[in-house]
């Protein structure tokens, strides 16, 4: 186009530069136009399980199942896993059962809380004492009301 | 006075809460001046189209030259007639909005069709100009489209503005046609009134042709065209004046008693009306008496008489409108909140703008050789 063109011309470099400029601007605009698609695809934040009266019902565990020391069970609250157990000295405890290592659900094993996936081990305080877990478990405030258990965030 | 409730059964809206930005008389004056210019442009453009139609009937070199000239200036005339139509419409809405807006809605469906008609007529004039060398075949239909379009617009204007002056008809019309699909056909003054506005159009275009013919006498080798152009122009002046006088007479005859006695009662306004007639008739004298000659002077004389005559008739018409509306509004009683600053700004812009334009007009026209139609190439 440049050579055979009988007209004056700032030369190819000028045109290349112009093309690059336009190309960049176009790319920016198209990116902006894709924003609705991004918003459409980006997921909504999950609901807060403690929304409302600040506590969540524990599903899958009846108070009776953790009545005696040494008893423990896995259940769920607001769609997340929880492990509830009664310590040898009779305290009722609850932790979010998601292992801090790879997200398996941990299990209460009398003297410890154990993760079957990679052998992550926590003591009954939820501290990570052996194996890969980098952090302690997330503790939860658990209260029994009649036959049903409720958990709420630990106020710290 | 501007409270609609005064008139039982007539839903006249109150005057706008903002009030007037300048004394009514001043606004009336501006409206009057610009409307006169508007009508001159209307008559010139419509006349040009009429004369082009006439020139097509039995084409000969002279008529083709006239048609070519008129065909070049008609689109310009049209765009100025629209442009000069804006301020009077603006000012009439300022003063008589209560009446104008109401009547416009009542005939809304037709009123809005003025816009497509404008585009049709204006577009047709350009199409006519741009196709004249390429496709002469379609020139006739295009011209007729322009002519009918312009006449329809004139009819719709008169229709709406007479309805604006007769609020008594409103409520029935609206109840029957809330979509505005109706016209104010019960009004006897419409056609005569249309003639008072448009009757002079052959004359207005005629004087221009006539002047051009006299200029052409200078150009060598075009004497035949020059002669034909002059006589055509002079005839057109005669015809226009005749139609107009008839129209005005019919208009006065069809007016309701109030306004009619105002015009025939022998007072100031009888004089004004008579003056209008006399001036327009005076335009005939140069057309009848003038001898051949290269100076456009007689045509200019005749044209001036026509414009002044038309101007005085518009003055009369303004007074007649007040007479129509005397029970509903008294302009002097409308609250005024003057915007002097804006008024000055407007005036200054007007003076500077016109001066600037005229300066360049002269500068450009000086380069155009005699007798050549202004052209784009």
């Amino acid at each position: 186009m440049t050579a055979k063109e009988g007209c004056v011309d700032e030369g190819t470099t000028g045109r290349r530069g112009f093309l690059a400029l336009l190309g960049g601007l176009t790319a920016a605009w198209l990116a902006a136009a894709a924003w609705p698609v991004f918003r459409y695809l980006s997921p909504r934040p999950p609901p807060d399980p403690f929304a409302g009266e600040g506590k969540a019902l524990v599903k899958g565990i009846a108070a009776a199942e953790v009545a005696r020391p040494g008893q423990g069970a896995n259940g769920s609250y607001g769609g997340r896993g929880v492990v509830v157990f009664r310590t040898p000295d009779g305290q009722l405890r609850a932790f979010d059962s998601k292992c801090t290592h790879a997200g398996c659900n941990v299990q209460f094993q009398g003297d410890r809380i154990y993760c079957n996936c990679h052998g992550g081990t926590y003591d009954l305080e939820g501290r990570n004492v052996a194996g890969p877990p980098p952090r302690p478990l997330t503790p939860l405030q658990v209260t029994a009301e009649g036959e049903s258990l409720y958990v709420s965030p630990v106020s710290s | 006075m501007n409270d609609g409730n005064l008139h039982a059964g007539i839903p006249l809206p109150p005057f706008d809460p903002v009030g007037l930005p300048a004394p009514a008389a001043l606004i009336l004056g501006l409206a009057y001046l610009t409307f006169t210019l508007h009508l001159v442009a209307v008559n010139f453009t419509l006349g040009s189209v009429l004369l082009m139609v006439w020139a097509r009937l039995r084409p000969d070199p002279a008529r083709e030259d006239m048609a070519r000239f008129l065909g070049t200036v008609a689109p310009l005339g049209f765009s100025y007639l629209v442009t000069f139509g804006i301020p009077p419409l603006l000012f009439v809405q300022l003063l008589y909005g209560q009446f104008f807006y109401s009547s416009s809605v009542l005939v809304g469906a037709f009123w809005i069709s003025v816009i497509p008609l404008l585009i049709l007529a204006y577009g047709a004039l350009y199409a006519h100009r741009l196709t004249r060398d390429g496709r002469p075949g379609i020139q006739g239909p295009i011209l007729w489209a322009a002519l009918l379009g312009m006449l329809a617009i004139g009819f719709l204007y008169v229709n709406n503005l007479t309805l604006a002056m007769t609020p008594g008809r409103w409520i029935e019309m609206y109840a029957a046609h809330p979509s505005g699909g109706t016209l104010n056909l019960g009004e006897p003054t419409i056609l005569p009134r249309l003639l008072t506005f448009l009757g002079l159009s052959p004359a207005m275009a005629g004087v221009v042709l006539w002047a051009r013919g006299r200029r052409l006498q200078g150009a060598t080798g075009r004497e035949a065209v020059a002669t034909a152009t002059q006589s055509a122009g002079r005839k057109a002046v005669g015809i226009g004046v005749g139609v107009w006088v008839a129209g005005v007479a019919a208009w006065v005859a069809t007016l309701p008693d109030g306004p009619r006695t105002l015009l025939l009662g022998g007072g100031t306004w009888t004089v004004a009306a008579a003056a209008a007639a006399v001036l327009v008739l005076a335009a005939l004298l140069p057309a009848l008496l003038a001898s051949r000659g290269p100076t456009p002077a007689p045509a200019v004389l005749s044209g001036t008489a026509l414009v002044l005559g038309l101007a005085s008739l518009i003055l009369v018409r303004d007074r007649v409108r007040m007479e129509y509306l005397r029970d509903f509004v008294a302009l002097p009683e409308i609250p005024v909140h003057p915007q002097w600053g804006m008024l000055v700004l407007f005036a200054v812009t007007l003076v500077l703008g016109v001066a600037f334009t005229v300066f360049w007009l002269v500068r450009v026209v000086r380069r155009v050789p005699d007798g050549a139609a202004p052209s784009s190439r």
């Binding site: 609705p36 698609v37 918003r39 459409y40 695809l41 980006s42 909504r44 | -």
Partner: protein, 370 residues
């Protein structure tokens, strides 16, 4: 060391980018592994004749554009659509998901415009007589593609599970039911039972998002390959011209590039339509409720719907049979009207085509107004 890399054909060398440049190296790397130069050359040769009717050549591309819009928006809708609770999930899309209403409306409008574009493509091909040998199969695959597009429309229409879609589907399937002998069985097969229920959705959904897409992609491939191999057909008027007066666009690089702005404009048009006339979601389908007033099939089924009304009662079967003949006749055309330039048959075909088009438009309008 020996290698199985194939040499770059000499005739290719001058046409490739400079050996030094990145593009040049990439091109040679590929050509050494995939010796497709003859194909590349063939495609580069491909050209589109320039004449009064050239604009119609763009229709195919336009259909393809709308189809790709359908693929993208369709995938987006699948992200949130749930055949288990169809109406609720669509309501969630238009009510809760950001820009969900927009995506759904675009899917709706692109579907309709695609079918419209297919009609234009079909009739322009017909009247330019592009179906004549050697292009019979291009024509036939085109017809099947048109049928598939309609099937897309019919299956997708049910998925929102609102009043309109429910009754429209019920009526539509009942047409199948009227077919002799196998009708009832087929209808049950399609519905997954004696009536339209959520079970029907569980059949239409995979049909709409898996089966039909697979079929249509394959056929589009064939259709386009045929066109690429045989090149664009030239109307008789163009062939009649002396060679020096026959002007051409290059297909790639010229014709296609010039079409991009048109696609862009159509894309904007889709958003504009979605902005001005979003697709409404009617109340959830209630099999017990009375059908809403003025219910009608989508416009592209209206003509058949109206035509069948002409055959009341026992005649209905006849009507169906006649309607069934139409596609068969269309398939038959290229095997019957073969001569270039057009002969008596060709002219007759054109007249029949005009009659058919007029009938289609008339029936559709009639159905739309009645």
């Amino acid at each position: 060391m020996s290698s199985d890399l194939s040499p770059i054909p000499p005739e290719a060398e001058p046409r490739l980018p400079a050996p030094g440049s990145r593009a040049g190296r990439a091109a040679r790397w590929l050509l050494a592994r995939y010796p497709v130069w003859p194909i590349v050359e063939h495609l580069a040769e491909k050209r589109v004749p320039r004449h009064r009717h050239s604009a119609w050549y763009a229709m195919g591309g336009i259909v393809l554009f709308f189809f790709s819009v359908q693929v993208v928006t369709g995938i987006l809708l699948m992200v949130y659509y749930d055949p288990g609770q169809p109406w609720q999930s669509v309501q969630r899309i238009v009510m809760e998901i950001p820009y969900g209403a927009l995506v759904r409306s675009i899917h709706h409008w692109a579907a309709n415009l695609m079918i419209l574009a297919i009609f234009l493509h079909l009739f322009s091909t017909f009247f330019l007589k592009a179906y004549r040998p050697p292009r019979e199969l291009t024509w036939v695959t085109g017809l099947v593609l048109a049928g598939l597009a309609m099937a897309f429309g019919f299956s997708g229409y049910l998925l929102p599970w609102d009043e309109l879609s429910f009754f429209a589907t019920r009526v539509g399937i009942s047409e199948i039911e009227k077919a002799p002998l196998v009708g009832g069985f087929l209808a049950d097969l399609v519905r997954g039972g004696p009536d339209v229920t959520v079970a029907t959705i569980n059949r239409f959904y995979p049909l709409h998002v898996v089966v039909l897409p697979l079929l249509i992609l394959g056929l589009i491939g064939a259709h386009l390959t045929f066109v690429q191999v045989q090149g664009v057909s030239e109307p008789d008027s163009f062939r009649a011209l002396p060679p020096e007066q026959r002007k051409y666009h290059k297909f790639f690089g010229e014709f296609l590039v010039a079409e991009i702005p048109v696609w862009l404009a159509l894309g904007v048009l889709l958003v504009a339509l979605a902005a001005l006339a979003p697709r409404a979601l009617d109340p959830e389908a209630n099999p017990a409720a009375s059908a809403p007033e003025g219910i009608k099939p989508e416009w592209y089924f209206l003509s058949q719907y109206q035509a069948l009304k002409l055959f009341p009662g026992s005649l209905e079967l006849l009507g169906q049979a006649l309607l069934g003949l139409v596609p068969l006749a269309m398939v038959a055309v290229p095997f019957w009207d073969r001569s270039i330039p057009a002969d008596a048959r060709g002219r007759l075909a054109t007249r029949l085509g005009i009659a058919g088009l007029a009938g289609l438009v008339a029936m559709t309008l009639w159905g739309w107004l009645s």
